[in-house]
Subunit: 243 residues, 2 copies
């Protein structure tokens, strides 16, 4: 996919301006690691900790479309799971295996996102935490915030922040990657034992472009609240697929 497919839809594929904005920030204990690693909050010199923030991104626009088409709020459950695992996977990349402490931030337009949808999102967090617990991954929900920010958010945005402690000798220090090491690749297709259905092969990034490239333009007129008016009309839902 060309970067133009992203840029024309308001997504920077390189985030160069973001990298520049944070270039002066403290790199933490292990510069170059996938997450900033900080000293252990409780002061144990043998341990360290990391926070990670991420969310479901524009996938909640997809859940919104499915909800509007079906009236089923449970479509939002997957948004919570996605928002959660976007953090646990990145923390795993530095060697953190939990317990994970989880907080969420939900921003909504209360004119479009009612309480039953919030119930769906919260249920999604509970179910994801329970399912991962079956596989020995401990996640503790520490609370969160649901803000009515309709002047900022068209529908709903669901972000999560996760924290984990780990022994410093268990850190996967990406800054130490060097020639001669093996690279292990995992397929984004197929189905893991803990997954309920086959993966599409589409990964978590680039779904703004994928949604616009695959979905039929009929949804542009039907749900204008599901995309930015800064996107040229001939870039909005340009595909042939119906939900």
């Amino acid at each position: 996919m060309t970067s133009e497919a992203y840029l024309s839809r308001g997504v920077s594929p390189t985030k160069d301006d973001v990298k520049a904005a944070i270039s002066q920030q403290d790199p933490g204990l292990f510069p170059g690691s996938f997450c900033k690693i900080i000293p252990d909050p409780s002061g144990d010199p043998e341990w360290c900790a990391a926070f990670h923030a991420d969310g479901a991104g524009t996938k909640s626009a997809m859940a919104y479309l499915m909800y509007r088409e079906t009236g089923d709020c449970t479509w939002f459950e997957g948004i919570a799971q996605d928002s959660l695992v976007m953090n646990s996977d990145d923390l795993l990349a530095i060697g953190a295996t939990g317990p994970f402490l989880l907080s969420n931030t939900i921003g909504r337009n209360a004119h479009r996102i009612h309480g039953n949808i919030l119930v769906g999102i919260i249920a999604g967090y509970d179910k994801a935490i329970s399912r991962l617990a079956e596989y020995g991954i401990k996640i503790i929900m520490t609370g969160g915030e649901t803000a009515d920010v309709g002047d900022l958010v068209r529908t709903v945005i669901c972000d999560s922040t996760m924290m984990a402690r780990l022994p410093r000798n268990k850190v996967v220090n990406i800054g130490a990657i060097k020639p001669g090491l093996d690279i292990v690749g995992l397929s984004s297709t197929g189905r893991a034992i803990y997954e309920e259905q086959e993966n599409s092969g589409l990964s978590s990034n680039g779904l703004t472009a994928a949604r616009h490239l695959l979905l039929h333009h009929v949804y542009a007129e039907k749900y204008p609240e599901s995309y930015s008016e800064t996107i040229a009309d001939d870039k909005v839902y340009t595909g042939s697929f119906l939900l």
Copy 2:
């Protein structure tokens, strides 16, 4: 201000539906406390911890208007400070005085919010952390996420998540409030020694309504991206004031 002034602008003044959605969540170690209090992540039985998530809310729409009128990205610095203190003050309400661990989540429409604005927000965090450090309040920036979510966010949303540990015997347990205790009130006007200018008397909540009730309708045509199209036109920027 009537609740209708909020509701008509997509803000629930009571958040009853939010409270219902989370009513089954674990209340933590001190039910009724202002933040959910959890066991210490490092397992010290004498200590506990709390996370808090909050953000600048629609005040970033105000910063956006000032930025568009002046071209000055530093208007966004205050958004970062607001997003930060909305958490430190609530954690203080349970007795946590720091060190505080801070993470942020910025969601933007990359078509409207360029890198210089992100620089302004990051600078705002750095300045707020430095100013509070002068008064003995230690805040450690742990990183964050800037997401391009133009299909969800009209301009920019700036949220923060903060965590603190504290001794259990220092917890301000709001669940233990009873008749006979004193209530101390602080003015939202005037100026504290650590503040650079007089306070307006407007507090952090209700600013969506305040913005629409005070600002002149000229900004409705000029910056339609600064408010929700779900708000009736006669409720948008209904005041007499110019920026």
